[in-house]
């Protein structure tokens, strides 16, 4: 775990270097567009640092999930709102949508750590948006005593080159794994899965007991 954390910290440092370059350029050529881009990158970097610190805090005893009864649908819809606004601000054409069937299939409540699950799904959506061509679809449903979250993109699939390789840290996946594992109930632990078929995109799945 500590090796992975060191690699992630290294990547974060590089991203900070990128931001520093943008800010240096802003001194010479201040433009609102440039400032906005730097601000977005800064906010993004902060998001990654929060993920990193969450993982870092968990390096000895693992993450501690404090589960309360929560509404899975509310969390999903909140994520969709935040991402729609964010993508719009970035000028991206990619849509983030909630699977329509969720309204009927999501359980009224489930026990999970709202903050951790939000972090993990946020990271998964972040990944999916990088690969997606037009659309990311998020969903939640109940199956065999598990709460199953899905994040699906319509990108080229898992074997494709990462178009945003420079910004990827592997942090998101490590975090989602740790979050899923931290959710335990009656001897079962949560898990994540990535599956894809060429041309049909990739689906990230996180199942919580």
């Amino acid at each position: 775990m500590s090796d992975a954390l060191a690699l992630i910290a290294h990547d974060l440092k590089n991203a900070l270097g990128g931001l520093e370059g943008e800010l240096a350029e802003l001194i010479d050529h201040p433009t609102p567009v440039m400032a906005q881009r730097a601000h977005l990158h800064c906010a993004e970097l902060r998001r990654q640092f929060i993920q990193f610190l969450t993982l870092y805090g968990a390096r000895t005893d693992g993450l501690c999930a404090l589960c309360e009864d929560e509404s899975p649908l509310d969390l999903l819809q909140a994520l969709q709102r935040v991402w729609s606004v964010k993508l719009q601000m970035e000028g991206s054409a990619i849509q983030v949508a909630t699977q329509p069937s969720c309204v009927d299939t999501a359980p009224a409540f489930w026990y999970f750590d709202h903050r951790l699950v939000q972090l993990a799904l946020d990271a998964a959506i972040h990944n999916a948006v990088r690969f997606a061509r037009t659309r990311v679809e998020i969903g939640v449903t109940q199956a065999d005593g598990w709460l199953v979250w899905t994040v699906h993109d319509d990108g080229p699939g898992l074997d494709a080159d990462d178009p945003g390789q420079a910004n990827a840290t592997g942090l998101g996946t490590a975090l989602a794994e740790a979050v899923a594992a931290a959710h335990a109930h009656s001897g079962r632990h949560g898990c994540i899965q990535l599956g894809s078929s060429p041309g049909l995109g990739t689906t990230f799945t996180m199942a919580l007991p």
Binding site: I50, D69, S71, F109
Partner: protein, 546 residues
């Protein structure tokens, strides 16, 4: 569906010691349309503002860089009843302290927000909590009015919907049933919750409390111990309290002391040190009492959670330990803080007289005693009375001292804590031989009164029985044993006479209200309230059928 209304009507309070954070939070609330915002930079200012205003939202930083942290402030205003049912309390914590803060209490604020807090975090949680409050309002509004049966019905309606708030409704139903004295039903509700989630701490604690209320103290102890032994419950101080209360109720005050001490190690708050100090003193562990009370007094000095009793009992402990000059220093130091505190002066004088006796100034002591006597009324079952009695005994006024102790017993003859204090006062002043006679004779005379009344009732001399017990309740208005008996005998009189006698019902209500103040949340009072309700129910039913 999350709350969709506007947030602009909400009046908010920010409690935060860092100016930069104050500005940030204020700006974030403004983004949500919340512009009526007050700011407090410490717990004392916050306390003053909360008392004077009606906030809809309180955002409090856990780390206030002061003696009182956010959790202590939250528990304090909650216990004082200063948080209206429609006020949301959000605690802002650092990632590093979140888990330890959240794990130690069953009384959670409405939300924990982790730093760095964003406006959308606040908005999400605010809307979710407003929705929750709205959904649970039928239950909580009735609970706030002490309409327990109404609350029970409303929670059943909510449970039947099996919606998002199912578990919250179960939790409220369990609490309501415990308050109604229906511990078997409460247990069943908590077990229903445990079927959904076997590790739910509030439900496991609920079962333990139901067992304690049923008088199954060993079982309550075992269940609470299981909670403490589990990784998620090891810091749950409420479980320690269930154990301590079970131990005390089953005649093991020393065991209760050690349990309370363990709890104070888990959560070293002023309140916890105070509980340990008080118990340690009664149980004669003066070193532990000195240490715990010293911590409580020192840590809370000048803060909202400070209590004069910490310093007074600390001074008494120091006198008993043989450090009278230290005791005097504590009293003088405390005087500046509790000038206007009712009761501080009188007890402080009694302790001062003890100090003067212990340091060989009998004439001074007599003069001080004179003043102490003048400021204490009829003896009660409290520390002030025992402290004066002890001063009298130390000064050689045996008769006056013993009479005061007798009064203290009569004032609440079933109060084991007072008996422990009185026993100690007699032992410390070389009157071990009188422990039995003082305590037993006073207890016996009270007991006889009760026995007489019950015998008259058995002989169908209802009015005579009521007469005796009414007199006793009048003479000893704070005697919990008498009040419980009086309530029961009056209820039996209602049943025997088969009429809804309004003045009598009013009298019983008065007894029960007094008991609520004297023994807040006590199982015996809960059970007597239940008996009273059942009595009224029986009479109502027979009235309708005839």
């Amino acid at each position: 569906m999350a709350y969709q209304g506007s947030l602009s009507h909400i009046q908010a309070l920010i409690i935060e010691d860092m100016a930069v954070q104050q500005t940030t939070l204020r700006g974030q609330l403004a983004l949500l349309g919340i512009t009526r915002v007050d700011v407090a930079s410490n717990a004392n200012d916050a306390y003053r503002l909360i008392r004077a205003n009606k906030y809809g939202l309180i955002m409090c930083d856990f780390n206030l860089n002061h003696r009182t942290d956010g959790q202590q402030l939250f528990e304090h205003v909650r216990e004082q009843g200063l948080l209206p049912a429609d006020c949301l309390f959000f605690m802002i914590t650092a990632e590093s302290s979140y888990a330890s803060v959240a794990a130690t209490t069953e009384h959670h604020p409405d939300a924990y927000l982790l730093k760095p807090v964003t406006a959308s975090d606040i908005e999400d949680r605010l809307k979710a909590m407003l929705e929750k409050r709205q959904a649970l309002l039928p239950v909580s509004s009735r609970l706030a009015k002490s309409d327990l049966n109404g609350a029970l019905q409303a929670s059943d309606e909510l449970i039947a919907q099996r919606n998002r708030w199912f578990m919250s409704a179960l939790q409220l139903k369990g609490q309501t049933l415990l308050k109604l004295g229906r511990h078997e039903d409460a247990k069943a509700v908590y077990e229903q919750a445990l079927e959904v989630r076997p590790d739910l701490l509030w439900a496991r604690l609920g079962v333990a409390r139901a067992q304690k209320a049923a008088g199954r103290f060993n079982e309550a102890h075992r269940l609470a111990q299981d909670i403490i032994d589990s990784p998620e419950g090891e810091k749950m101080v409420a479980a320690y309290d269930v154990i301590a209360e079970s131990q005390e109720a089953s005649g093991d005050p020393l065991g209760a002391l050690w349990t309370l001490r363990d709890a104070s190690l888990v959560v070293p708050s002023t309140r916890r040190h105070r509980m340990v100090g008080e118990s340690a003193y009664r149980n004669g562990d003066l070193d532990m009492a000195k240490q715990a009370l010293g911590k409580a007094a020192k840590a809370s000095r000048g803060s909202i959670v400070a209590q004069a009793q910490d310093d007074l009992l600390l001074a008494q402990t120091l006198v008993d330990i043989g450090e009278p000059s230290e005791a005097l220093r504590v009293l003088q130091d405390a005087k500046n803080h509790y000038k206007d505190h009712p009761g501080f002066g009188a007890t402080s004088l009694s302790l001062q007289a003890q100090v003067e006796m212990a340091t060989g100034q009998p004439e001074q002591a007599e003069a001080t005693l004179e003043k102490a006597r003048a400021s204490l009324g009829k003896g009660k079952a409290d520390f002030a009375t025992v402290a004066l009695a002890k001063a009298e005994l130390m000064a050689g006024h045996e008769e006056a001292g013993l009479a005061l102790l007798g009064n203290a017993i009569s004032a609440d003859h079933e109060n084991l804590r007072v008996k422990q204090m009185i026993t100690k006062a007699l032992q410390d002043t070389g009157h071990e031989d009188k422990v039995a006679s003082v305590i037993e004779s006073a207890t016996a005379s009270m007991q006889n009164m009760v026995t007489d009344a019950r015998k008259l009732l058995r002989d169908s001399r209802i009015d005579d029985a009521v007469g005796i017990i009414e007199n006793a309740a009048h003479e000893y208005p704070e005697n919990t044993g008498v009040l419980l008996q009086a309530a029961q005998i009056q209820c039996m009189a209602l049943r025997l006479k088969k009429t809804l006698d309004e003045p009598r019902i009013g009298t019983i209500r008065d007894y029960l209200d007094r008991l609520d103040k004297l023994l807040p949340g006590h199982d015996r009072v809960t059970m007597m309230r239940r008996y009273f309700r059942e009595t009224l129910g029986t009479l109502d039913a027979s009235g309708q059928s005839s």
